[in-house]
Amino acid sequence: MYSSEQVLRALEKPALYGPDIDLSKYRIEEPDVGEAREVDQVVVNAASRVGLDSSSLAYVQKNEQALATMMTKLLEKYGVVVLPTREALSRESIARELAWRLVDPAKDKYTAFTYLYGGEVGYFIYVPPGVKVPIPIYTCLSIVSNNVVQTSHNIVYVDEGAEAHLVTGCAISHGVKDGIHIGISEFYVARNAKLTFTMLHAWARGLHVRPRTAVKVGEGGEYVNYYVTYSPVASIQTYPVVYLGRNTRAYLASIIASSEEGVYDVGSRAVLEKPGAAVENVSRVVARDVSETYARAEIEALESDTKGHIECLGLLLSTNAVISSIPVITSRKRGALLSHEAAIGLVAEEEIDYLMSRGFTEEEAKSVLVRGFMNIDAPLPPSIKKQVDYILDMVAKYAVG
């Protein structure tokens, strides 16, 4: 347990990375939890920015209003529980056992704020043992007002031998100029279970984003994290950590299209806790305008017979944009096989020239090249891959302006 005093003190604690945000500048709305028969039109519009069909959403959050939709009834058929976290904490003992176990509320001011004032909105998802959920579980978080803090505490437990594909879209409603989104996510992948988590984001120019995510993968489990963000943003700072047990594997991918004056401090960290753990940590950054991007990636091997590889590639589309790639590999035991590669470059003139000779305008050629650059072979199910491809097409077009 955490002492209130510790957490209160943490309200003043800046994060290790990213610009420090004064949370007192923003207002927080009264948390509200309920059910929705229909998704609000502003959310429908926001969801479409990240290619999500509102009719497939199981959980919707609008500012601090958490709503389970009719889709949860369909998921119930498979034994899957989808609830607003606040409701889950009062109804499900497992939710209480899992909350704030992987993420320390006193980690920094953002976790402390969410713990103390967040009202536990967010989603709770439980997948029973052996259930392979045949349809993706879609959730959408949107901010629809100016100058608010949105908090979201998400807990996911995929029980032994189960499999689930979670897609979360975070998008800002048209006209929203500023605010801050703090998302706390605690995911548990039990023994021999599998979870893919795809995050699609479209933020707004004055928005700050501070997700805090931790994932624990049990023996034989598999976790895939696929993070895409595009559109302008004031700043994003996220550095999720994945703890990998015996004979587990993880694939962590970040696709970032940075633009305007945004600061993008993104990446992920994996801790190989037991023998047989393996991770691939891959990022692609396409930066334009005067954006600053810090692409972090870290793998720490605590045991032998573990494997990890980092691949950070950056593409500068403007001479004023900055990409800083920071791969870190740490081995604490002999027999851990860790490697990294990082490269940052400009779009090759020769490739643009080539495509132009095939009839593409310069912008079309750049877009084709950027889209190709972002192609990574992530182990996602075909239906989600299709959705990701759609978003990446948009990202590529956006990236070249």
Binding site: E350, Y354, M356, R358, G359, F360, V368, R371, G372, N375
Partner: protein, 241 residues
């Protein structure tokens, strides 16, 4: 319906590589440009295509009565000019299939499938463009993309270099089909291997140090050049010995 080069001069990084070339190619004609390494053959084709790595520093390029000297390459492509590059760049992440689909959208493609089979590119459509392609695969893929453009003028830059005999036959058949549908062709070759497989060539031009120094029918030029080499062969041709 003509391509006409009028005293064309082309510079690469401020060095004049093509030093006044004049040439006229009519519909359905096949012209071959031969010459030693570094004579400017690829630069000439790059200039006709409008690649940004070369600069026209004098003269003009007229295509179907229109001066296209300053036109960007993508607009020339729209007019029906297409280039099969000698060394196309390897492009990671972009599959041949992606480019094929994007081009099919632009140009329309009624016979994409049969074309993939004719040039045997169907087996590597899903591979990254030119990455790890063999010599033959590269040339076949290039000609395939060129044919998708349904060109009025095809510029073929050494389609026979680094290619096995089977591929040369395949490429030659594809070039013949282009010619049969009226496409003008300028083919640059270093080895001349593909010329034996083509049924009709209208003219062969010998390019030396950026200038066309001799032009005639293939029956006149080729036996002499390939037997004696460019230097001695030219002495014979020009001297009429």
């Amino acid at each position: 319906m003509t391509l006409e080069l009028v005293n064309l001069r082309v510079c690469v990084e401020d060095r004049e590589v093509i030093k006044g070339v004049s040439l006229r190619v009519e519909r359905g004609e096949v012209h071959v440009v031969v010459g030693p390494n570094g004579s400017g053959k690829s630069t000439l084709l790059s200039a006709i295509m409008g690649l940004r790595k070369v600069k026209v520093c004098g003269g003009s390029i007229i295509f179907e009565g229109r001066d296209i000297t300053d036109m960007p390459s993508y607009e020339r492509a729209k007019l029906g000019i297409a280039l099969a590059h000698q060394n196309p760049p390897e492009i990671k992440g972009v599959r041949l299939l992606d480019v094929m689909n994007a081009m099919a959208k632009k140009y329309g493609c009624s016979d994409c499938t049969s074309l993939t089979k004719t040039l045997l590119v169907d087996s590597f459509l899903s591979r990254n463009l030119f990455v790890g392609f063999s010599g033959g695969e590269k040339k076949r893929a290039e000609l395939f993309l060129l044919m998708l453009q349904n060109p009025e003028l095809a510029l073929l830059d050494e389609p026979d270099s680094g290619v096995d005999v089977e591929s040369i036959g395949m490429l030659a058949r594809a070039i013949e089909s282009l010619r049969n549908r009226g496409t003008r062709i300028i083919l640059v070759t270093h080895t001349g291997a593909i010329m034996e497989k083509l049924s009709r060539i209208n003219k062969v031009h010998v390019l030396i140090d950026g200038r066309i120094v001799y032009s005639d029918s293939p029956d006149v030029v080729l036996p002499v050049i390939f037997k004696l080499g460019f230097k001695k062969g030219l002495e014979v041709l020009v001297g009429g010995v």
